[in-house]
């Protein structure tokens, strides 16, 4: 048994968890921004999928760095659709998000056929040079970048005027508006930042983690990110811990399948853990007060 324990918490599993952590945490950080600004973004998963496709495509065209940028831009553009629908047209946030997820089922396949002549996979793409970290082995430079982005997100949300305004739009848009905060602008910003993060997360997944785009490679990570967001109490710091939990579960799943029980059901583990987490913690957290509500600038109460 100690052997198993060592493997469960050993270097290999930690390294694997770290790799799984990056896309999850990036997507969750994005989620923090849109939810804090008052907009629910169920479409994060779809934005990640677009990120995986455009990341691989961009990397093939111009190299891995440009690939990551392309992924972030693609995510932002898809997020723009969500922002227009929810902020400007005040469509139900969930409906718009679901629509984006549906768009993300078929569009990448169409794009793949156009770009690669086949629907489900891209050729191998160039990757960033790895960094050697003693003990963990070679890791992608996106891993430290993610840590930097996490700190930056914490700083921007908690310590800057912009962050305060963004949060006020999600807590009490009416009061924010009376104080001169342009709620619509803040909400657009929240959703677009979220899209950029989700796109980057997808780009990391295809370029750095796998090395190519494959249909269905995202495996619902966007939805797990939503659960991580809730468990992390809508904060960049809390999200880091909740994403670590989910990433470790994912690493554990891989480990179990490789070395212990090769049972198809084990692959459901991350999703079951997500369900358990939702069941245990959903009531104990405090979402932004006005999240999910439509807001019409200047309208009577």
């Amino acid at each position: 048994m100690p052997d198993v324990l060592i493997q469960l918490f050993g270097i290999a599993t930690i390294a694997s968890a770290l790799r799984a952590f990056v896309p999850l945490y990036l997507a969750t950080l994005g989620g923090v921004f849109n939810e804090r600004s008052g907009i629910v973004n169920i479409g994060i998963d779809g934005m990640m999928i677009f990120g995986t496709w455009f990341g691989a495509w961009g990397a093939l065209q111009w190299g891995p760095v440009a690939g990551l940028v392309t992924a972030a831009v693609a995510g932002t553009l898809v997020a723009l659709i969500h922002a227009v629908a929810t902020v400007t047209f005040r469509v139900d946030h969930i409906i718009s998000g679901v629509a984006i997820n549906i768009l993300a089922i078929g569009t990448p396949r169409f794009l793949s056929i156009v770009a690669y002549g086949q629907g489900t996979q891209s050729p191998q793409v160039p990757q960033l040079p790895t960094i050697d970290v003693p003990g963990l082995g070679a890791i992608s430079p996106v891993v430290p970048l993610t840590a930097v982005l996490g700190v930056a997100a914490w700083f921007v949300l908690g310590r800057t005027v912009f962050g305060l305004r963004l949060r006020s739009a999600g807590e009490n848009p009416r009061a924010a508006e009376t104080l001169g905060v342009r709620v619509v602008v803040m909400r657009y910003a929240g959703v677009l930042i979220s899209g950029a993060f989700a796109g980057l997360a997808g780009g990391y997944l295809s370029i750095e983690l796998v090395g190519l785009y494959r249909e269905g490679m995202n495996q619902g990570r966007g939805f797990i990110a939503l659960a991580a967001l809730i468990l992390g109490n809508w904060s960049p710091i809390g999200a880091a811990f909740s994403c670590l939990l989910f990433a470790w579960t994912e690493a554990l799943t891989v480990f179990l399948r490789v070395s212990w029980i090769n049972n198809a059901f084990i692959s459901s583990l991350p999703y079951i853990v997500t369900l358990i987490v939702l069941a245990l913690f959903f009531r104990r957290v405090r979402p932004p007060k006005a999240v999910g509500q439509a807001y019409e600038a200047g309208s009577p109460v």
Binding site: I102, S268, L275
Partner: protein, 394 residues
């Protein structure tokens, strides 16, 4: 949009029956407005589809080819009508499942997993049991519904007792369903009759007493000329009956009324004596049970067994259909036929043009995005007109 002549508006002081006597012209206009939204959205989808083709292929000829193929192959190919009706069948069930949850203000994104588990249960009862058709078939269908219900029960209970949002939990259940399917179809429920490395991950064939027949002979007897292999079965009739029952339940029963109250104004529900938790539970379970029907046509009438490549996206398309059909029974049938037509047309695009047939996926996505925005615009137009009328009256 300016409207010159306006029929006399009902007086605010008049007795309540006036509401039923809205002038015909005004009602007609309301109807036209309702149809305006889908029309706008289809138009926008067509424009965006054309733009995508233009960007990708850079020729107007291809746009024309695609439109031509969609029209001539999608509608007038020998088997197209059979395909459209047959492929619409699971979509109608999926749309109804999503819609009944929508009515209660709930999002059942888990139809995908629910119909997979439902189909698995039905297949199991279908090949395990041997009984005369009039017992076996209803039991099999019931098993499908129970399977879907079981899979919806987890998110429903989590929602009621733990407050977990159903969107995330139903999606998680979809992934868990994938795992269950893979596990059972490569293990306990795998067809033992096959050997070798190419063994399919599928169940044994369901007994003939649990199979549902093709509707092609019936259609051919009334003058159509469909090929025997067309996927049109008697489940289509069941789907239509389902849509009628759905419409009547939502509009005419107490249960339907309570669902709608919960969906439109949850805060008014409790004071009106509607206990929301039992209603949430009922709505989601019912939604799961209907979802369980979506996969049955494939298992009991087309493949006659449950296969692993099962996840066919009916659940997500069902969401699009419920939105497109505005959660009305008739609307859902119409929307399912439309999506099914797009599916058939994509075959035509693949056969007759140089454009990848997956372009219809983009059309689907755009349609559902634009439809919600179009409904919102129409709603605002109506609201603005009502406001103006009120002002003029004052």
């Amino acid at each position: 949009m300016k409207v010159e002549e306006r029929p006399p508006a009902p007086q605010p002081e008049a007795e309540p029956e006036v509401a039923a006597k809205i002038p015909f012209g005004q009602r007609l206009r309301a109807w036209a407005l309702q149809l305006l939204a889908p029309a706008i959205s289809l138009l926008v989808a067509a424009v965006i589809g054309a733009l995508v083709i233009l960007v990708v292929q850079q020729s107007w000829g291809d746009v024309r080819d695609v439109a031509g193929a969609m029209w001539s192959y999608g509608l007038f190919n020998r088997n197209s009508v059979a395909f459209i009706l047959g492929r619409a069948t699971p979509l109608i069930f999926a749309g109804l499942a999503v819609a009944i949850a929508f009515k209660a203000g709930l999002f059942n994104i888990g139809v995908e997993g629910q119909y997979a588990i439902g189909a698995l249960c039905a297949a199991w009862v279908g090949y395990q049991l041997s009984a005369p058709t009039f017992i076996h078939l209803p039991l099999t269908i019931l098993a499908g519904m129970l399977g879907g219900m079981l899979w919806a029960a987890v998110p429903a209970l989590l929602k009621v007792y733990r407050g977990a949002h159903e969107v995330i939990s139903t999606i998680m259940m979809n992934y868990v369903a994938n795992g269950v399917l893979l596990y059972l179809l490569s293990g306990a429920l795998k067809d033992p009759g096959q050997r070798g490395a190419i063994a399919q991950q599928q169940t044994p064939q369901v007994e003939s007493t649990a199979q549902v027949g093709s509707m092609v002979p019936f259609f051919n007897s009334i003058g159509f000329d469909f090929r025997g292999s067309a996927p049109l079965t008697w489940f289509f009739v069941l789907a239509l009956v389902g849509a009628v029952i759905y419409a009547l339940t939502v509009r005419r029963t107490r249960f339907g009324f309570e669902l709608r109250v919960l969906g439109t104004n949850p805060r008014a529900a409790e004071p009106a004596g509607i206990r929301s938790n039992p209603m949430i539970l009922k709505a989601l379970l019912l939604s799961g049970a209907i979802a369980g029907l979506a996969g049955l046509q494939d298992v009991l009438a087309i493949d006659d067994r449950m296969k692993l490549d099962y996840i066919r996206g009916y659940g997500f398309t069902g969401i699009a259909i419920a939105l497109l059909g505005r959660n009305s029974g008739l609307g859902i049938v119409a929307a399912a036929l439309l999506i099914s037509f797009l599916d058939r047309a994509s075959t035509g695009i693949g056969l007759n043009t140089d454009v990848p047939k997956e372009v219809t996926y983009i059309l689907q996505g755009v349609i559902i995005l634009t439809i919600v925005i179009a409904y919102e615009i129409v709603r605002r137009m109506t609201a603005r007109r009502q406001l103006k009328e009120q002002h003029e009256r004052a």
